[in-house]
């Protein structure tokens, strides 16, 4: 499903590579945590998987495709098979919860009939039934992240990337969000999550890959934060 093959990523002007010959393989339907200190290279992995960046050396495969070799005009289509959520939610403040989700479908050309059907469904699924018409500033942090997850999941992507999705949330809310991600994972979606949150990693007991200074220093099934 996802394979990093000897991936090195050096940003221009950086003194050392953000990722240094990293090789990782993630199976379909897995739930994987990437952990490690700030600046270890975790977010670079998300950027590579989204093809916001191309690897300096090595290959990144997602859904069997060599992502680094994608022509720029193919990238948009590739991204439709990936959902992504972030620490800062990235919702449009002038649109309601339902409109935020619908926007993601409209801009990839989904017909209105489909949008009208799937948006309420997915909002119900993430536990926002009844709050479709609230604006982001009328929702709590946890609820905003649910909207973001609904937007990422509405296309039923094969992979869901989460970059510190609980970074702005209190512990209780974080656990609710993790339950939601776990449910999404159980539908067969591969979930890759970057986090600092040791509590969550220890509670979930899923595969943990620890990165430090751009290198994989630990890769444990059912691991803990350590």
């Amino acid at each position: 499903m996802i394979r990093l093959d000897n991936v090195t990523k050096t940003y221009p002007k950086a003194t050392r590579p953000s990722l240094d010959s990293v090789s990782v393989e993630i199976e379909k339907g897995e739930f994987v945590f990437f952990i490690g200190p700030s600046g270890a290279g975790k977010s670079t992995i998300i950027k590579l998987l989204l093809r916001e960046e191309a690897p300096t050396k090595g290959h990144v495969y997602v859904n069997g495709r060599d992502v680094g070799a994608l022509r720029s005009w193919r990238i948009p289509h590739f991204r439709r098979s990936i959902g992504c959520v972030f620490q800062d939610f990235r919702l449009l403040p002038n649109r309601t919860a339902a409109e935020n989700v619908a926007f993601a479908l409209e801009v990839i050309g989904k017909p209105q009939s489909v949008i009208r059907r799937v948006v309420p469904e997915v909002l119900e699924l993430v536990g926002l039934g009844g709050k479709e018409h609230r604006y982001p500033n009328e929702l709590s942090g946890g609820e905003q992240q649910r909207v973001a997850i609904a937007r990422a999941f509405v296309n039923r992507p094969l992979v869901l990337l989460a970059d510190e999705p609980t970074g702005n949330l209190d512990p209780d809310t974080s656990i609710e969000i993790m339950r939601l991600l776990d449910r999404i994972n159980r539908t067969g979606t591969t979930v890759v999550m970057v986090t600092h949150d040791s509590n969550i990693v220890n509670q979930m007991r899923r595969r943990v890959i620890e990165i430090d200074q751009g290198r994989v220093v630990r890769d444990q099934p059912r691991g803990v934060y350590g």
Binding site: L50, W73, F78, R79, R90, L92, P93, V107, I108, R151
Partner: protein, 293 residues
């Protein structure tokens, strides 16, 4: 649905930044009007070349004190000259008649001219208009010849003036055009900045590049086309007040070939096309290089 989305985004973008939009349209209009004027002038000069060079002739003016024998000898020499296609004698009376016809619109001028003020002449059509020099050498010193005038010289001086005006208009058009394009670049940067959240999400969820770029590019194209329409209006006013107004005598006198409405109307699609294309390319490059959309 998607077309509706794109169009409403275009309208919103232009309205949000309305002073800049107006500035953009005005500079574009000025630039395009001058470009249009320059093109019309170019066409005019082409027309005049065609119309005048076809029957351009060399005029051999005869001296006041020419004798009948000299006149006849000159006529015979011209008739047998291989460089000459045709030579016709024009008496003082003929010359005056022609003058009166040409300046029928300026009766005061005709009044003020005595019938014998105009010299008699031979009007000579050359086999090859380029061979004027040889004619000049051959006939300048013939007895009874006063002066030899190549009409092409008169014309080329006129064309020189028209060409200079045309070049000036073109230079101003280019300078204004550059200013207009800088405003396009600026407008698009502002538009893209004010919609950076939407753009980021569109890219994240995989909206195609054209869909992300279209509203911005269309904003520029719309302003360009609007500028072209304003420029077209300016040219219409120019036709009414300049060509059919202040400069009318020059056209009626046949100095300038007439400028048809068809030419003016032709400028609308031409200018709109140029404006749309240049704005679109500028907009697209701005997005690519400055904003990486």
């Amino acid at each position: 649905m998607r077309a509706k989305y794109v169009l409403s985004e275009v309208a919103l973008g232009l309205w949000r930044n309305v002073t800049m939009t107006i500035a953009m349209i005005i500079t574009m209009a000025v630039s395009l009007a001058l470009l249009g004027a320059s093109l019309l002038m170019y066409l005019l000069v082409q027309d005049m070349r065609e119309a005048f060079y076809a029957d351009v002739e060399v005029t051999i003016f005869l001296a006041d004190d020419i004798t009948d024998a000299q006149r006849q000898a000159l006529g015979e020499q011209l008739a047998s000259d291989p460089l000459v296609a045709d030579a016709t004698y024009e008496s003082r009376a003929d010359a005056y008649e022609r003058f009166r016809e040409q300046f029928a619109d300026a009766p005061e001028l005709v009044e003020a001219t005595r019938p014998d003020a105009l010299p008699e002449s031979y009007r000579v059509q050359l086999e090859d208009p380029e061979q004027f020099e040889q004619i000049l050498n051959r006939y300048a010193d013939v007895e009874g010849v006063d002066e030899i005038v190549d009409q092409r010289n008169v014309l080329s001086r006129l064309f020189g003036i028209l060409g200079a005006i045309q070049n000036l208009a073109l230079v101003i058009a280019i300078v204004q055009g550059i200013a207009a394009l800088m405003l396009v670049v600026n407008t698009i940067q502002i538009a893209a900045y004010s919609k950076r959240r939407e753009v980021a999400i569109m890219k994240l969820v995989g909206a195609s590049n054209w869909f992300v770029q279209a509203p911005f590019v269309l904003e520029a194209v719309f302003a360009g086309v609007l500028g072209a329409i304003v420029a077209y209006g300016t040219l219409i006013l120019g036709k009414i007040f300049l060509v059919d107004g202040a400069l009318e005598p020059l056209f009626l006198a046949g100095v300038l070939t007439p400028l048809s409405w068809g030419r003016i109307h032709l400028m609308l699609p031409v200018l709109a096309g140029i404006a749309a294309f240049v704005s679109a390319v500028t907009g697209w490059l701005t997005l690519r290089f400055y904003i990486k959309v």
